[in-house]
Each structure stands twice: as structure tokens, then as C-alpha cells.
């Protein structure tokens, strides 16, 4: 009888150590975002920070969140040299408005450009807890289409695909020179 008790204990320990795979770990690489890095057009090897950049997806009421901790408009603004934007998991194109100097006091500084990204999608298995993720591949023919939105000239002067396979977030996929 004692033996059975011991084994029951072992059984219980075994169960407890195995239940953790029911929660998707935040560090697990799941659906990646598109990583864009900004460079100086006059000195292409140097990274350049944008100023008050706001990125809004077409048809979305709010911009892409860049500062999770802010509560006001600055939540959607960034002044860094790289951004991560989410693509659609259920469509092969995603269109974004890139607004430089968004909400600036000097309205002439504000410049809006539109980029449409074309890609193919593939669903890949992650784990029991996380389910599947979507990985993307930018179209080889026309990975992006940029248009001026608002007749203020194009500030995204040159766009270059660095890595068309969007699978992880630790590498740059697209380089933008301005």
C-alpha cells in the first residue's frame, strides 16, 4: 500500500511539472511584425531617427502603438530610428500612412505618405498553447507601392527590401532612406 502511495505522489509531481505548457510564453516567437529601419539619405550607412512619426493602418481609427506606457497621443508617436508594424494575418496586403511630424505646431512640417505592402502568408505551427503563427514573405515583383498622400511631397525618398522573409523580429526587413 505504501508503494502505491509513493507512486501516487510521483504521479502528482509529474502532473504539476507538466501543466505549464498550457500558457503561451511571451518570449515564444509568434506572428512577427515588419521591422523598418530608417537611414539618412545623404549618408546611407548612418541610421537616422524620425521625428514624431505616426503610422496608421488604412481604415483603422488609431495609429500603431509605439509607446505602450503612454496614455495620450504620444502613445502613437515615435522618434526612434526603427519601428515594428503589424501586417494582416487574413489578407495579402496592408496599407499604412506614415505621418512625419504628426501633430506638430508648424503644420508645414507635417508630411504624409502612403505605403501599400504586398506579401504572401503562411501559417506555421508554434505549440499547443500558442497555436499557429503567420509568417510573411514580401512580394518579389512589387513588395511595396508608395504614394504621396496630401500633396506635400514624398518624404520616404527611398525604400529598400533588406530581407523579404518576415519570420523574426530581431532583424530589419525594410530600410527607408529619408
Amino acid at each position: 500500500m505504501k508503494k502505491i502511495l509513493y507512486f501516487l505522489l510521483l504521479f502528482a509531481f509529474g502532473l504539476s511539472s507538466c501543466e505549464k505548457d498550457d500558457i503561451c510564453d511571451g518570449n515564444t516567437p509568434t506572428t512577427p511584425r515588419l521591422i523598418i529601419t530608417f537611414y539618412d539619405i545623404t549618408n546611407p550607412s548612418i541610421r537616422k531617427s524620425v521625428t514624431r512619426l505616426k503610422v496608421i493602418g488604412e481604415g483603422q481609427p488609431e495609429g500603431v502603438v509605439f509607446n505602450k506606457n503612454s496614455i495620450d497621443e504620444t502613445r502613437y508617436l515615435t522618434s526612434s530610428d526603427s519601428i515594428a508594424i503589424p501586417l494582416k494575418t487574413d489578407a495579402d496586403t496592408a496599407t499604412f500612412e506614415f505621418i512625419l511630424n504628426s501633430g506638430s505646431a508648424n503644420a508645414t512640417l507635417t508630411n504624409t505618405d502612403k505605403i501599400k505592402l504586398n506579401y504572401t502568408r503562411q501559417d506555421a505551427y508554434v505549440s499547443r498553447a500558442c497555436g499557429f503563427k503567420t509568417i510573411y514573405r514580401l512580394d518579389t515583383q512589387t513588395p511595396f507601392e508608395k504614394t504621396d498622400s496630401g500633396n506635400d511631397g514624398i518624404w520616404l525618398q527611398q525604400i529598400q527590401v533588406q530581407n523579404p522573409n518576415i519570420e523574426f523580429e530581431n532583424e530589419t526587413h525594410v530600410k527607408i532612406y529619408f
Binding site: 500500500m1 502505491i4 483603422q60 501559417d123 497555436g131
Partner: protein, 266 residues
């Protein structure tokens, strides 16, 4: 008849131990019941010592079915399965044991819904650790098994995990891919209890701790449930449970050597 009553007591005593784990204030209750048990055993002894019986061990084949798997289909819509069990007594303590089963299980996780269908076979031995009184034939066994399963998996639906759901919530995607020709092999430690409740009819239950040895996973998916092995975890660990009813078919008898010879061995 009294020996079957004892068998039932044996079966129940396991539940008493489990109950004791939860409630600590039932110790006195358990003590008294144990005393009762001892006295009943003594009376059995007293009535049979009049004529010294020649103790014989019966050898044969026991076949049965797992009621847990069989009845689970009634209350679990995602499950259909049956397991047949069998063992053959080799020596006084050792039994050759095998299980054969078929399962159809739909696993519904938060983000995945998949169905595994397949058959499995397990083979090995049981060692009876229980010293029986007189001609009783109860078993408390520790055994080892090797298991093999061939199965297929169907991915019914899945959800895409997106940590930044900017474009709205991700809808559930209907899969429909079927992955066939999958196999898995494992080893397990089986703990079991079987008590004779009627003539040649045994009721028992068992726990199994399983260790996955080989697991052929499909491309782009995982084996979330393996028939016979049950749910898989991150590692190679698994558990199982069964509740069996079996019938013993006696084939031959062996006389047990007088106990005078057996005692110095201890």
C-alpha cells in the same frame, strides 16, 4: 463467499487511503475499520483450519476490458475508444500482460482543435506484490510495458497567435489537413490492483506513468494526443488510467509448497 467480501474490502481500502490524504480527522474511523477487518480475517482462519487445505495456485489467462475508456464515450462527445486487456500467469508472482486498444479523440485546446485516431498495443509483465490469504487471488501489481501506436491526426481548426492584434482579432482558421502514417513508441510503469469479486471475475484499476521514446511528428504540426499514450506534454512524460473488469480462464493448477520451506527464505 467470505473471500470475495475480503476482496471487496481490499478494493475499498485503497479508497480509504485516498480519503485519508484529504481528511486527517478520520484516523480513528479508519483504525476501527481496520480492527474490524482483522477480526473478520481471523474468523476466516478459524473456520478453515479444521482440515488443512492443500493450497493450489491456479494458472491461466485473464481477459478483460477497460470500462473507463468504454464509458467515456457516453459523457465525452470528443472521445470514442476501447481497450482490451489480457494477462497470463507465468510463475507464482509474474504475469505476462498485454493491452490492445483503439481510440478516436478530439482534443479541444484554446487555440487548436485536432482529432487523433489510431490503434495501439502494449506488452510487458506484471509482478504481484500482494501476499494472498489462503486461496485468494487478488493482485497488487507493479509492471513494465512497451507501447506502440500507429495513428493519424486531423487538424480541425486553429487560431493564429498575434501579440499585436492591431487589425482586429484573428478569426479561427478551419484547417482540415490530415496527417497519416504517424507512429509513436513508449515505455511505461504500470501500477495495478485487481480483486476477485465473483467467481473468476476481477475488478481493478491501474495507473501508468509513461515515457515517450520515439515520436514521429507530422511536418508543420505536433502529436498532441497519441492513442494509448494519451495527451503529450512538452517533455516526453505521460500518464494513463484504467478501470477494468476481467474474467479469468483457468488452464492448470499448481500445488503450493508447504510453508515450512518458504519461511526460512524470508
Amino acid at each position: 463467499m467470505s473471500k470475495y467480501i475480503f476482496s471487496i474490502v481490499l478494493l475499498c481500502s485503497v479508497f480509504w487511503i485516498q480519503a485519508q490524504e484529504i481528511q486527517t480527522d478520520t484516523v480513528t474511523k479508519k483504525m476501527s475499520s481496520e480492527k474490524l477487518k482483522v477480526t473478520s480475517e481471523k474468523t476466516v482462519l478459524a473456520t478453515t483450519t479444521d482440515s488443512i487445505p492443500v493450497k493450489t495456485d491456479r494458472y491461466g489467462l485473464r481477459v478483460g476490458v477497460d470500462l473507463y475508456k468504454l464509458t467515456r464515450g457516453f459523457y465525452d462527445k470528443g472521445y470514442k475508444g476501447v481497450e482490451f486487456i489480457g494477462d497470463f500467469r507465468l510463475t507464482k508472482k509474474y504475469y505476462l500482460a498485454a493491452e490492445l486498444g483503439i481510440e478516436d479523440k478530439t482534443t479541444d485546446d484554446d487555440r487548436l482543435n485536432s482529432t487523433a485516431t489510431g490503434t495501439y498495443v502494449k506488452g510487458g509483465f506484471d509482478y504481484n506484490t500482494y501476499e494472498n490469504w489462503l486461496d485468494m487471488e487478488n493482485l497488487i501489481t507493479v509492471g513494465l510495458r512497451g507501447g506502440l501506436s500507429t495513428f493519424s491526426q486531423e487538424l480541425n481548426s486553429y487560431k493564429i497567435y498575434n501579440s499585436t492584434p492591431y487589425w482586429g482579432d484573428n478569426p479561427t482558421v478551419t484547417g482540415g489537413e490530415k496527417y497519416t502514417g504517424l507512429t509513436a513508441a513508449w515505455a511505461e510503469v504500470a501500477l495495478g490492483l485487481k480483486a476477485q469479486v465473483f467467481n473468476n471475475v476481477f475488478v481493478g484499476f491501474g495507473f501508468q506513468l509513461k515515457l515517450l521514446i520515439a515520436n514521429k511528428k507530422p511536418d508543420g504540426f505536433d502529436n498532441l494526443y497519441i492513442p494509448g499514450f494519451n495527451r503529450t506534454y512538452n517533455g516526453s512524460f505521460g500518464v494513463g488510467f484504467n478501470y477494468t473488469v476481467s474474467y479469468f480462464i483457468p488452464i492448470y493448477k499448481k500445488k503450493v509448497l508447504p510453508e515450512i520451506i518458504e519461511t526460512p527464505k524470508k
